[in-house]
């Protein structure tokens, strides 16, 4: 049986890897390095096998809309209201919060398919 207490420190802070990926134009999500299960963002150990060895892999960038909200007042410098934030289920499994492009849309439906766009370190589904 595996000693789940060995090496419980992730090799690098998860947010750094995720954000560094965006800077390179890549959308990454976490998987277990031992059993390969896709893991929720923020997991520090594997839900399935308990391993603390996680890895970041590239997502195909396809997500289905689980929920969204529209801000009618802007809290983001340089972004005009209204703007939308969505919760997407990546095709690989994990749920990811991201900006949702409002342009050309007046109605969203549950499960709507969206594609990730990564530009200048910013992630938007549209």
């Amino acid at each position: 049986m595996k000693d789940v207490n060995q090496d419980v420190t992730p090799e690098a802070p998860v947010d750094d890897d995720f954000l560094a990926g965006l800077e390179r134009g890549e959308l990454l999500y976490p998987r277990c390095a031992d059993c390969n299960a896709a893991l929720p963002f923020g997991a520090a150990s594997c839900l399935h096998c308990g391993s603390a060895h996680l890895k970041w892999v590239a997502s195909a960038g396809e997500g289905s809309l689980q929920s969204y909200v529209i801000y009618h007042r802007s809290y983001v410098p340089g972004v005009e209201a209204p703007y939308a934030v969505g919760l997407f289920q990546l095709e690989e499994g994990p749920r990811l919060l991201a900006r949702l492009d409002l342009s050309g849309q007046d109605r969203f439906v549950r499960g709507g398919e969206f594609a990730a766009r990564v530009q200048d370190g910013q992630l938007t589904f549209g």
């Binding site: 947010d15 963002f41 923020g42 689980q66 929920s67 909200v69 801000y71 934030v85």
Partner: protein, 392 residues
């Protein structure tokens, strides 16, 4: 199994500071006023208080309401003192820990206080803008622009509305029900009659939430004194007994795993009902933590008072409003009464159990569910309370 409805403790005093939309003092000063009022209300002597539990808003730093509150109050013989870290579930948690400590012999009379002064000279965005962590990626909410508790709760609300195929009016009927109660409560802050049409005209905050879906913050403090159930009748003319207590902490993971509880509220409810030897069908009224309208719908379902997806129709039919079959948020709740976090529902339950509700007094306050909810649906605590030493 515990005998049905045997009380595990009692609330023997309730006190509050002034409540206001204007600055009326620091949270620390208001806390002193509320504690003094609660002790006076209990009839206990100052020196008979040997426990102090403190609940500050999760939005303020620790030193706003420090343990030094003890010195302000000159409570010099404490055997129990701590600050509770359950965010919106803290007020209910304080009462639970007080009752447990008393049962264990660690204290005799414990005062529990919440205090906050969120409404400043320039009101509005200040208390609104901090992000709640829900993405799992530190700092990501701010980069996405998901600001405020309202944004995080609105995201859960939209998922809920979609899951059950409900329209946005489902939220509005909660606001209408709360307002109907507030009209009968002179201490509520919003009294104007409210129809569903008025609700639809209310400005958006974060769609699907309008202004009227959001709690109405005030400055103020509320405190209660908790004592042993067996001693309560000798202290207070109208003690409020605690039959059941539970907590549940789980986060909101969406609807991906059918059959699992959606949030920790379901776990908290099971614990409280098991301790009380009661079931949801026995509940005569509810005082929910409802910082946003949506949380009342979810709580009705999570605590087993309505089936999954049925709360909206239940509220729309008037069952939670005055003369309804399950009165909820009977002082106007967080939306139309006032928002002092977990102490708003606690105080209303005490008032109802003591039959001090005036025009809003319930005929049957015999078994009330009182809830706390913190984080983004992360942290839950529940009490079952009533006016008799055991459930009628």
């Amino acid at each position: 199994m515990a005998s049905r409805g045997k009380a595990r403790g009692a609330i023997v005093g309730l006190g509050q500071s002034a409540l206001s939309r204007k600055p009326i003092g620091t949270a620390r000063q208001l806390a002193v006023a509320a504690v003094r009022a609660a002790i006076a209300d209990s009839g206990l002597k100052h020196g008979e208080i040997d426990g102090l539990l403190i609940n500050r808003s999760p939005l303020v730093p620790h030193d706003v309401l420090p343990l030094k509150l003890q010195d302000d109050l000159q409570l010099t013989k404490l055997r129990l003192l701590t600050s509770i870290e359950g965010e919106g579930s803290s007020a209910v948690q304080m009462i639970q820990y007080a009752a447990l400590a008393i049962e264990a012999g660690m204290a005799t009379n414990v005062v529990c206080v919440f205090s906050d002064d969120p409404v400043g000279v320039a009101t509005g965005g200040q208390a609104f803008s901090p992000c709640l962590e829900i993405s799992g990626i530190p700092g990501w909410e701010a980069r996405c622009g998901l600001h405020g508790a309202a944004g995080a709760y609105a995201l859960a609300a939209r998922e809920y509305l979609w899951h059950y195929g409900l329209d946005d009016d489902a939220l509005g009927w909660v606001a209408v029900s709360d307002r109907a109660w507030a009209q009968r409560n002179p201490d509520a802050f919003l009294h104007k009659p409210l129809t569903i049409d008025d609700y639809r005209q209310s400005p958006w905050v974060v769609e699907p939430f309008r202004v009227l879906d959001c709690a109405y913050p005030v400055n103020g403090a509320i405190a209660v004194v908790v004592s042993a159930a067996g001693a309560a009748a000798n202290i207070s003319e109208r003690p409020v007994y605690l039959y059941g207590m539970g907590q549940g902490h789980r986060g909101f993971l969406g609807f991906a795993t059918p059959g699992e509880p959606l949030t920790g509220a379901a776990i908290a409810g099971r614990g409280a009902f098991a301790m009380a030897g009661a079931s949801p069908a026995d509940v005569t009224a509810c005082q929910f933590y409802e910082a946003f309208s949506f949380t009342t719908l979810l709580a009705l379902e999570e605590y087993g008072l309505c089936g999954p997806g049925e709360a909206a129709a239940f509220v729309r039919s008037g069952h939670t409003a005055p003369d309804g079959r399950l009165p909820c948020n009977t002082g106007g709740g967080h939306l139309s009464g006032f928002y002092l976090q977990g102490m708003t529902p606690v105080a209303e339950a005490v008032i109802q159990a003591r039959r001090q509700g005036g025009p809003r007094q319930l005929e049957n306050p015999d078994l009330m569910l009182v809830t706390g909810n913190g984080g983004r649906l992360d942290y839950h605590a529940a009490l079952l309370v009533g006016p008799a030493p055991s459930i009628a």
